[in-house]
Amino acid sequence: MTDNGNPYLPHPARILRVREENSQIKSFELAFTDPERHRAFTYRPGQFVMVSVPHGGEAPISISSSPTRPGRLTLSVRKAGRLTAALHRMAEGELVGLRGPYGRPFPVEELRGRDLIFVAGGIGLAPLASVVNLCLDRREEYGQLTVLYGSRSPADIAFRDELEGWRRAGVKCLLTVDQGGEGWTGQVGLVTTLFAQISPDPGRSSALICGPPVMFRFVAAELTRLGLSDQDIVTTLERHMKCGLGVCRHCHLGPKLVCAHGPVFTLAELRGLREAELA
């Protein structure tokens, strides 16, 4: 991270492939233009990079690929503001700038041997996908894997290829949509309604959650009801960020900074922090 002493210096990276996940989400596979840098680039699940888009500034985007698949660097991006809209307009072969990776990753080492429940809404599956793929690549190190995924409507279900692959690899993938539609025979309702279909052993289960604050509140309450301790409920938070280095303070969470102390936090760590929006 020394980068010639300037931690703010972005490095050019080329968009190799763009995959449209749904009308709002695209996945970008990237490679640093400097092959040496690309080879040397390492990260851990849950970390993010600061992405520069020409004339558009920078934004934090979590990495959705897994470090167990070297050479792959994938970012899944929902069109939310100016920068992400500009990124969505970019095509294969175009350049972005990257610096990082930043942030505290998911505790994948500590989670070894445990059953993992992944709970995500919409784009929230992106950072969790990194962990799911890592677990699959080190299958024997982890117990049962369950993915609960909520989308707004059947058309909004993203990461379909990924989900299909996980299913084939033996991951229990349960989907739900807020509003059903023609041809949808699956579950309708919030992601919490999927909990009726699982019965985790609280002693050997941990949950990894990513989604909007209101979803996290309800999911956390449900997991607590199932007997999971606050230590075993882990989430990753999305915040406005400018530096990624713990200086600019846009991502403050009361006394903590999401870029430096997070973005991954256990529920135990978030209790009592008003800005965590648990109440």
């Binding site: 300037n6 500034g57 400018k242 600019c248």
Partner: protein, 348 residues
Amino acid sequence: MNDHLILKKDHTLSLLRRLMREHRLVAPLRNRHGDTLFSEVEDLAGAELDLEHQPQASLKPFLFPQQETMFRYRLDGEGGYRFEPPEPGRPLLFFGVRACDLSAVLYLDVIFSKRGRDPYYFARRRDSLLISLACNQPFANCFCNSAKTGPFLEYGFDLQLTDLGDRYLVEVGRARGAELVGRWRHFFTPAEEADRKAQYQALLESRSHFQRQVHLEQAIRRLQADEPLPEELWAGLSRRCQDCGGCAYVCPTCTCFTITDQQITATEGLRQRSWDACTFGGFTRLAGGHNPVDPGREAVRQRFLHKLLYDVREHGRPSCVGCGRCVGICFGGVDIVRFIDLVCEVRQ
């Protein structure tokens, strides 16, 4: 141990003129509209040095400018999306710095050392010299006595001057100060016991001249107690906050910033870093519109807790230096002194 020397006021300007050959001199100047501001001195003879009034802004803009170019970026067709940082300027010499402002620089040093030294800040800070002026006469809104940052400094300066009428008592602090005195030895004479006594007397008198009673430590103790402050206290303050960001801009220790790209041509632009303020509603708002902070009820919460609680936990001392500038600038009368007073009232 501090050396104690005497510098005659008659010779101060000629010393500064010498130092200006290697440094850009920044000192409190009175402009033609009657405002006193730290300014870069181009022509020492023509400048009106003003050591009588508190400069309206701190040193912050010289070390961490309101807006600065981080990179010039260029795009070209073949594999180019290049970022070039600007060249650093000449080293800075700050003269006539009050204790509060110098203490603030020591805080900035810590903040900009986090996770990789900030190259822009340290390019300006690294070779800078700080010559401070002990405060013989606190100003109307000052409370550095309560913040324990003044009115006289015990460390942190390169040289500290104390006004003794026709001469300054000079204390040598950091190594760079000793170097300066060593190189320009003929400007200085050793201080006598009487000079040191006079300085002590000035310190005592200065302490008795504070007009405000601000109980900073009491407020910090109250904040450290676990029970939260009443919601109505935060909401009342936020209702009054007029969202101007003035407090953060004049604050010598507020360092929140934003980064934006400014396009110049289709293939060129500047990446700029500019001051920001945690009191602004857009500071925490996400691209999709969600805001984890409710600006209507908690606009000033992060600012006050960061300064008086979080920094005490992290650095062992608050990051309010008691300069009082926010008291003068706040449109809503909800400056940090009002907050400290309210917190102390809650405690009773």
